[in-house]
């Protein structure tokens, strides 16, 4: 993780982004700029395009039109190296816990002598000390997700995307993940996270993006969006109404 606490997080900007399939608009975001000081949480019902937007921002999906810039630089393969993503269901390599972290550190060309202490630091950070030699697949859901986040952070990303990382976790495991996310944010990592959990948005977000049917219906400071939403869709979603 980056050590410079005062460093401002990376700015992400989207222009004219659109994806359609068989005539149906899946994503249509004319302009979106994520430059707030803390975590951005993307909220919205299923099928709103939250995960699709996240994948576009990360470069995993090529949009039909539009572009994504990070710090004013057009996102391409090289730039993607400064981003990391954690998925809803952690995908861990069929290796030990330590080997999962070693895999990304090796890809960063970190010398072997530096890798071992770095792995120990990361495991301590994620509360996984003593589990280094355990097969990653035998971890509990919360531990597996923590390892996935540690592996993402081992890349020293400027931006960390998280796609509903706590949707299958209990409150205690969720709390540990949220602490890790806040710590990363405090260290200058741009956090962009998708969630269905309004309580989580209250706890983590400094900025909220509300989505509905492939469109951004509202974007603003967390308190402002959560307490006095401007759009009807946001209001209904936040009131717990069934938004489809």
């Amino acid at each position: 993780m980056r050590d410079v606490v005062t460093e401002a997080p990376a700015t992400l900007e989207v222009r004219g982004l659109s994806i359609a399939h068989e005539g149906k608009v899946l994503l249509d975001v004319p302009h979106l700029c994520l430059d707030g000081p803390g975590p951005t949480l993307i909220l919205g019902p299923n099928g709103a395009g939250k995960s699709l937007l996240l994948r576009c921002l990360h470069g995993l999906i090529q949009p039909d039109r539009g572009r994504v810039c990070q710090n004013g630089v057009l996102l391409n393969g090289c730039h993607k190296a400064r981003q990391a993503m954690v998925f809803q269901r952690p995908v861990l390599l069929r290796r030990s816990v330590a080997a999962n972290l070693d895999f990304v550190l090796k890809r960063k060309s970190m010398p072997r002598v530096q890798r071992k202490p770095r792995i120990d630091d990361l495991l301590a950070e994620g509360g996984l000390d003593g589990k280094a030699r355990q097969p990653a697949r035998s971890l509990s859901g919360g531990e597996a997700q923590r390892l996935a986040i540690l592996r993402a952070l081992a890349l020293d990303p400027e931006t960390l995307f998280l796609d509903e990382p706590t949707s299958a976790l209990d409150p205690s495991a969720t709390q540990m993940i949220e602490r890790m996310v806040l710590r990363a944010s405090a260290q200058g990592v741009r956090i962009v996270m998708v969630t269905h959990d309004i309580g989580q948005a209250r706890r983590l977000a400094t900025e909220i993006v509300m989505m509905q049917a492939g469109h951004v219906v509202e974007q603003g400071l967390a308190r402002q969006v959560l307490e006095s939403p401007k759009s009807d869709e946001s209001r209904r979603y936040l009131d717990g109404g069934l938004v489809t």
């Binding site: 993607k80 190296a81 990391a84 993503m85 998925f87 069929r94 097969p135 697949r137 035998s138 592996r151």
Partner: protein, 237 residues
């Protein structure tokens, strides 16, 4: 019935007394099949993994072809290798016909499609699961091949053992290209066929017992590894 019991007793004593002719045949069989399986693995596994991750026109047709070659008739494989290695064939100059090397080549022809097809199946399912994560970590399609092969290692050992099972039990192809020459190219299966026709049932039975024992051992190993792989979530096929 009494005759069978007597032949069987003789067969067991051949095995237990360490009959040199019998064990020479067993060792040659093992040598030929182990080499054939290793070479097949070196060709078939990367080929299978490449078929699993690469996207190119004709890929589907190639997969169908590789799958179909799993059932390639051994005598036809033997005939093709014979034509290649015979004096008038394109590789006749190497003078490999009726040598253990020719038998290895024939077994490689038969086992490689098995390796490639099983590897493709296992790696493709793993690649589906890993795809987004590896791309997110900046791993290219090509660079993902060794990652996937390593992570599918337990399932691939199963493929290796399945290939060995096919190779060691092979008779049609090796008899054509090996010629079943005593002390040179006589392996377990070809000896069983020959000795049975000669009425020397004791040697044939002894080799049969060893062959069945090997088949059971290989299958037991496959079962244990499959179980382990399932427990670790490695096997998908």
């Amino acid at each position: 019935m009494q005759e069978f019991a007597s032949e069987f007793t003789q067969a067991l004593s051949l095995i237990l007394e360490g009959d040199s002719e019998l064990w020479a045949i067993v060792l040659l069989s093992m040598r030929v099949s182990v080499f054939a399986v290793l070479i097949s693995a070196l060709i078939g596994m990367p080929l299978g993994a490449a078929l699993a991750v690469a996207r190119f026109p004709g890929r589907r047709a190639l997969i169908i072809l590789v799958n179909a070659l799993m059932g390639f008739p051994p005598v036809v494989a033997g005939l093709l290798v014979y034509l290649m290695l015979s004096r008038s064939g394109p590789l006749g100059i190497l003078e490999l016909l009726y040598t253990p090397t020719a038998m290895i080549i024939a077994q490689v022809v038969l086992v490689t499609p098995i390796m490639a097809a099983l590897t493709r199946q296992v790696v493709e399912m793993l690649a589906e699961e890993y795809s987004e994560q590896l791309r997110s970590l900046g791993v290219s399609r090509l660079a993902s091949v060794p990652v996937l092969l390593w992570d599918a290692r337990l399932a691939l050992v199963t493929a290796l053992l399945a290939g060995f099972g096919r190779a060691i039990a092979e008779v049609g192809a090796v008899i054509i290209v090996g010629g079943n020459i005593n002390h040179v190219t006589r392996v377990m299966t070809t000896t069983i066929a020959l000795e049975t026709s000669k009425g020397n049932l004791a040697l044939a039975l002894a080799l049969g017992v060893i062959l069945v024992g090997l088949a059971v051992a290989v299958n037991a190993m496959v079962s244990v590894l499959t179980l382990r792989a399932e427990r670790e979530g490695v096997r998908h096929a």
